[in-house]
Amino acid sequence: MDDRRLETIIGRLLQVGVLLAAAMVTFGALAYLVQHHADRVDYRHFVSGGPGICAFPGIVSSAAHFESLGIIQLGLLILIATPVARVGLAIAGFALERDRLYTVVSVIVLLILLASLMHAT
């Protein structure tokens, strides 16, 4: 497998991830607007913590209860996962090519991403 073919597969998978995320966000958005379309909204002042779905467990349980904001946020999580998946797939591809240097480089990038995402658990 050469770099080009590897990238094409990765690119396709990313697109599928984005479409899946967009579909989920759209679904959550419709549910939210049906229930809350007439609510007064004001985002002039940042409220730390927001609507209380900032961490993975809260998002998943909110979405599992079919709460609209939880569904939107889960869709956004899928979106955030697409570049992470891209790095993971690159690791597999470089390992298949027996390219030690770039397998290690990709693992370093993945570890940085995962360490950062740990903040939201």
């Binding site: 770099d3 080009r4 590897l6 990238e7 094409t8 990765i10 690119g11 396709r12 990313l14 697109q15 984005v18 995320a21 967009a22 966000v25 959550g28 958005a29 939210y32 809350h36 379309h37 007439a38 609510d39 007064r40 909204v41 004001d42 985002y43 002039r44 002042h45 940042f46 409220v47 730390s48 913590g49 927001g50 609507p51 779905i53 900032c54 961490a55 904001l69 939107i72 946020q73 956004l76 979106l79 955030i80 697409t82 570049p83 992470v84 891209r86 790095v87 690159a90 770039y102 480089v105 990709s106 370093i108 990038v109 940085i112 991403l113 360490a115 950062s116 995402l117 903040h119 939201a120």
Partner: protein, 278 residues
């Protein structure tokens, strides 16, 4: 404003931002953040959280198309991402320490630079170079199609490129933008990578860089689903249409108009930041 009105207006503004961002190559983030804060009075922190999410959407969504053209270089991208992701984590950390006013002023300065780039354009640096010792050891060079046949290119100044990428990552994490313009300058000007390879590789890198800030953004509550939802859907739709139209449009005139709009936004952002209105 009701939730429905807010969602529709933000979606429309974001679609326009994504459209213009794709046509000019500057990305949607640089327009969407000032549009939300200046036009709708949305707090900067919600705006940069929503923008960060939309940056990931455009980067991942366009990846397949860019790969097909055969310009992007996954080795260069992956290697430089070590610097952009570390920078992004630092930037996202700083975003929670900065006041909204300070963020607005820094954002305004970045907009000034984007306006400058729009007016000036980016002429392709024509002559190709051989890789220097470090780039050769890292096997960063590659080939790209020129008039149908593959041409080889080398890479230089890896340490300086890494330093700039760290800065690009920090700006991305601080302001919720892709900072593609800085990435392209680092690759094209500093590392002597062909312009087409630089822009497509930059697009691929932007999503990974933004994902590195996402954990801290989520933790601090910057990514509010009610704001991020219309921004993400709007920017994505606008960017897809923009990318399709790109080949048919006179980009030069458009870039001048875009540059003027960004310049106005930059000044308003800085003034509002200083007077404490944002």
């Amino acid at each position: 404003m009701t939730a429905l009105e807010f969602t529709v207006v933000v979606w429309a503004l974001s679609a326009l931002a994504g459209f213009l961002g794709a046509l000019t190559g500057l990305g949607g983030g640089v327009v969407v953040v000032p549009a939300l804060t200046l036009a709708l009075g949305v707090d900067m922190k919600y705006a940069i959280g929503a923008s960060l999410v939309s940056v990931i959407a455009t980067s991942s969504g366009a990846a397949a198309a860019y790969v097909r053209e055969g310009f992007s270089n996954i080795r260069i991208g992956m290697f430089l991402e070590i610097a952009t992701t570390i920078g992004a984590v630092l930037g996202a950390f700083l975003a929670s320490r900065f006041s909204t006013h300070a963020l607005a002023i820094v954002f305004g300065l970045i907009l000034l630079q984007a306006a400058y780039l729009s007016f000036k354009g980016t002429p392709e640096s024509a002559e190709r170079v051989a890789s220097d010792a470090l780039a050769a050891r890292l096997r960063l060079g590659g080939t790209y199609p020129v008039a149908g046949s593959p041409q080889t290119y080398g890479v230089r100044n890896v340490p300086a490129g890494l330093a700039m990428m760290f800065g690009a990552g920090a700006l991305s994490g601080l302001l919720g933008i892709g900072s593609g313009a800085v990435k392209v300058i680092a690759m094209d000007r500093v590392m002597r990578i062909p312009f087409k390879v630089s822009t497509t590789t930059s697009n691929f890198m932007i999503g990974v860089t933004a994902a590195a800030s996402a954990g801290l953004y989520l933790k601090h509550g910057y990514i509010d689903p009610r704001v991020a939802m219309p921004v993400m859907l709007g920017v994505l739709a606008g960017a897809l249409v923009g990318a399709k139209l790109l080949v048919h449009m006179r980009v030069k005139t458009l870039r001048m108009v875009f540059g003027a709009v960004i310049l106005a936004l930059a000044i308003e952002m800085i003034v509002n930041g200083i007077t404490g209105k944002v």
